[in-house]
Symmetry: C2
Subunit: 612 residues, 2 copies
């Protein structure tokens, strides 16, 4: 029992110091906000405090270091079981596997390693803190703008990330060759797959950092949407890419190119992406149908809890199936905000938003504290100046190869072009953050992997602490509008949307296609809005269509025909925002066409409606 | 790496099935509410589903049972370290201690044991789920009514719990003697301290169950306050008692009475209780002063997060100091609701309440699922029919010895007596729940302790599933008012409070004393309300008083003199509730005397204001 109590105390001390860290971060953040210091934001502050805690722990650790680590050998044990059952002087004890220890100058036994290994499992990062951040980002995306820019966002996210990954991989590989020539590293230390893995790890720009920085400054909405949409989606792409590269390196070609392994990896990429998308969508459909056909909206707490649990289940289910939980939760968040939200009561909408905001805020702070902490306390850092320089250079080069050519190609098709100063700013704002770290920390078994982790940590810290404060001056220098009010800009968007709805001249053809599919089938199935399914689905689907069509839909059809004037949506939006204070507990009146309206979420916390 | 991925999947499967369980519970709960089934409530439903999951796991377990468990012996290992470092074929692996294994008919190796040991650490119950439930209960307590009934509640909580504990201990000890005589148990199986420990474990009535059942039925508020106040506080008493008894059994007297050990245990009880109180109050004071002297109220998210983190820190700090975290978080919750809440912006008030509601709802569901799950899957149950009968009987008897004499004594001093039907109902509603289980599950090393766990689990299940559905008929039979509106009953309370404020005829003298202390010193120090400290504190405290007095206080003093009419508070309350929708983000106007007003929280979810 004594060990149990000791462990409990140790855990509590760790949590308490973490809490203290977060509290101090929050207070500093508030103080900075108060003093109008725009140069640093919460993530940077949290990271700095994490470093301070790391430094303290490190110095405490030196005091305790003397204690030698005893390594035992178990008779007859020649594999590494998940649980080890050991006979200690006729008492049998259970032990749980933590990980392999690599001895480097005898640091294995230090308190830090123990604490690091025992309390802050990187798994926790993935399972507990990242999903709500990604979900919140996806949930609060300004959907209309996102769909207007869908094609461009997808291009940047998919093509851009792949270009970056390959670019970084190639550059870094060249550098490691140079390192071998210069005698800085041995042949075979860095395999080509390691380099590409590094490319995948570092290719994703971070939505957390982007959100924190730009939403406060209220950058021009189209630019913001491009940047945020890209950063949210390319996380997913990077995660799946990293996994595909690991698959590739496990199945075949390490030195030479292996066609079979390559196609396996590509197949894996496609399968994971589409599988995760399907899982995310499945859980959204379950949530939407549950909230559509039950009167759960009378109990906002239940609605919120259900939405929360089902979205988390999407993450877990994807992980169980060997897919990507983050990708699933990302699509789930976007779909929940597009469909389920219309079935929720107005109180549940506010509750859900605030709950997600809380989780994502805490998670974000925790992750950046942790990044700072690990940077100083990770016991097996491998800092190679050559590799770091190479990495920085290749990140810059590949970002340029990503943004400018893609923007040029997209501008050929886009009605409202991405201006050159916007491109410069996109180039500049490639902040790296939590996802890169989480990918890098997953495997630290080889020297190369540890180099990747150390370099990634440095890159994250430098982009966060260096680029963060430089954002404001940069925006001024590039002459980019800041402090843009979402409403002020609404007119132009609406004009565009109308043109889009008319079927021709839509900003993006991808968006137009999606819009038709959604308006006719998905919307009516999952919400009370849109034309009845009985009129859009083919005749042989009759019974199913009748089952899924809500009684509201027929009324909607009539009303839609009557008031097709453009101003109507706007008025409904105002009404919807206005009555949130009053109609609590009641059933949310379905809007005439909520899928077309703003979701009342906004993308910038400052203008986020609902409580005003 | 393979083990890591396996572990991750296993964890995910476990979490996913838990999520599914919770989702199904929520849906069933909603369905039951819809159908107006008052007989079962969420806790019971969750417990039933937990049992179903347990049964499924158990049957899966039988399939996997064949796999033999291998016990290894490590060379030179003769203690049980927290982390075990093992050399496996020249790779060194870290293992973390989980617990001791007791072999009983070879069940040690089953999947259940592994899952049980690995994923559902009872620690998690204590550290993650219980604190928000207790905090929420304390935070949402109807403070005015609680303080009006303070003396009675304290008597029931302290005296009552001690009477119950001793009563159960003595009865059960008598039964175990009988068991020895009847040949059902060996001499020395049950020590006197085991019996008293069982008394402490089972003495606490459960606030979770009480809250779930009675708040929905809206029982007469005074009775509700007595029951809920008792159940919230006696958890704390039971936890500290259980620990004091453990201390006693460790330090001395096992068979005979040991005076020194007894006084040590009593000292421990007093020290833990007052220490935890101090920790809880300290963190509240920090929160209150932070929110009073900064303009954090411009950022509701930060306010809520701070309140949340600081309250959790109170729990952790108490645990680190070897005190009782639950007691600390209980007092912290009550104090936060009494002081800090007045410094919060109105949006932060709603946010905090909703966040706590969410956590406590999820935690409650989880705990009851878990209780059901453990009842069916705990591999080392010891069900002794004799002991169980004895336990049931002694619980009944000691509940009677607690309620009737204490109510009689209290009625001598109370202005509004506790009626006889109220006493019967208090006798009836001694539901046992999460805290009893959490106390019992902490130590299962001996046969006696396992008997205690099994009996406690049975008692919890039977009181929850048996007494829960019987509540409504019981209330009808005892002629107790239900569906009482808090407002409707307000007039009588107000009358009483005024009399109390006038200094004479206060319902409870404890309350009067407390009220004066609070009104003059605590309130003005921690909030903007009340008379300025410069006028209440002695002269030599001048500088401190000036530092802590907010500028509002001087204005308050003037205004308080002007409108001392009774209706005023009520009007302010209405205003405060009314403008919550409008003045979001702004600074909350300090009420004239918020400490005297209702907190806008209410004790019954159904009437909880703020969002209406």
């Amino acid at each position: 029992m004594m060990t149990g109590i000791m462990k409990h105390r140790q855990d509590s001390v760790m949590l308490l110091s973490l809490n203290a860290l977060l509290i101090v971060s929050i207070l500093s953040m508030w103080w900075l906000k108060q003093r109008q210091f725009r140069c640093t934001h919460v993530s940077g502050v949290a990271m700095l405090y994490g470093m301070v805690l790391g430094a303290i722990m490190k110095s405490v650790d030196f005091v305790y270091r003397d204690e030698p680590m005893e390594v035992y050998a178990c008779v007859g044990l020649n594999n590494t079981p998940l649980t080890l059952t050991v006979n200690v002087t006729s008492h049998v004890h259970h032990y749980k596997h933590v990980g392999e220890v690599n001895f480097l100058e005898g640091q294995g036994s230090s308190l830090i390693t123990d604490l690091y290994k025992m309390t802050f499992d990187p798994e926790v990062l993935f399972n507990l803190f990242l999903p709500p951040i990604i979900f919140h980002g996806a949930y609060c995306l300004n959907q209309r703008r996102f769909i207007d820019n869908l094609g461009s966002v997808l291009t940047f996210a998919f093509m851009g990330t792949i270009i970056t990954c390959v670019g970084i991989g190639a550059c870094v590989y060249a550098f490691t060759r140079l390192m071998v020539v210069a005698g800085q590293s041995a042949e075979g230390d860095f395999l080509l797959t390691d380099c590409f893995l590094f490319g995948a790890v570092i290719s994703a720009t971070d939505p957390v950092a982007v959100l924190a920085l730009f939403s406060e400054l209220r950058v021009e909405p189209d630019l913001y949407t491009l940047l945020f949409g890209e950063s949210v989606l390319n996380d997913a792409v990077a995660i799946v890419l990293a996994r595909a590269i690991t698959t590739y390196s496990l199945t075949g070609g390490v030195h030479a190119f292996d066609t079979r392994a390559f196609f396996l990896a590509v197949g894996h990429f496609v399968a994971v992406f589409s599988g995760s998308f399907a899982v995310g969508f499945f859980y959204t459909a379950v949530t939407a149908l549950l909230t559509k056909f039950t009167r759960l909206c009378e109990h906002p707490l239940l609605e919120t809890t259900l939405l929360f649990l089902l979205s988390w289940s999407a993450f877990l289910c994807a992980e169980v199936c060997g897919l990507s939980g983050i990708v699933a939760v990302l699509f789930c968040g976007m779909a929940q905000a597009r469909y389920t939200i219309h079935n929720l009561s107005s109180e549940a909408k506010i509750r859900t938003k605030q709950l997600l905001e809380f989780f994502s805020f805490l998670g974000e702070m925790f992750i950046f504290c942790y990044i700072g902490f690990v940077l100083l306390t990770f016991p097996r850092h491998v800092f190679s100046a050559f590799f770091i320089c190479g990495a920085f250079l290749s990140v810059l080069v590949s970002r340029a190869c990503n943004i400018y050519p893609l923007a040029f190609l997209l501008n050929l098709g886009r009605r409202n072009k991405i201006p050159l100063n916007g491109q410069h700013f996109m180039m500049f704002s490639g902040l790296r953050g939590a996802v890169a770290f989480a990918l890098a920390v997953q495997d630290t078994s080889t020297e190369a992997r540890r180099t990747i982790l150390s370099t990634t940590l440095l890159l994250v810290c430098i982009t966060m602490l260096g680029l963060g404060p430089a954002t404001s001056p940069m925006l001024r220098w590039l002459n980019i509008r800041v402090g843009v009010d979402e409403d002020e800009d609404k007119v132009s968007v609406q004009g565009r949307t109308e043109r889009g709805a008319a079927g021709e001249g839509r900003v993006d053809t991808t968006a137009g296609l999606w819009h038709r599919l959604e308006h006719k089938y998905l919307g009516p199935t999952l919400t009370h809005s849109g034309p009845p399914l009985t009129s859009t689905l083919p005749l042989w689907c009759g019974p199913l269509a009748r089952l899924l069509t809500s009684p509201h839909a027929y009324e909607n059809q009539e009303r839609l025909r009557d008031d097709a004037d453009a101003g109507r949506t706007e008025v409904n939006l105002k009404e919807a925002l206005g009555d949130q204070g009053g109609s609590v507990g009641g059933v949310a009146e379905p809007h005439e066409d909520p899928l077309e309206g703003d979701l009342g979420l906004g993308s910038t916390p400052a203008t986020a409606g609902g409580e005003e």
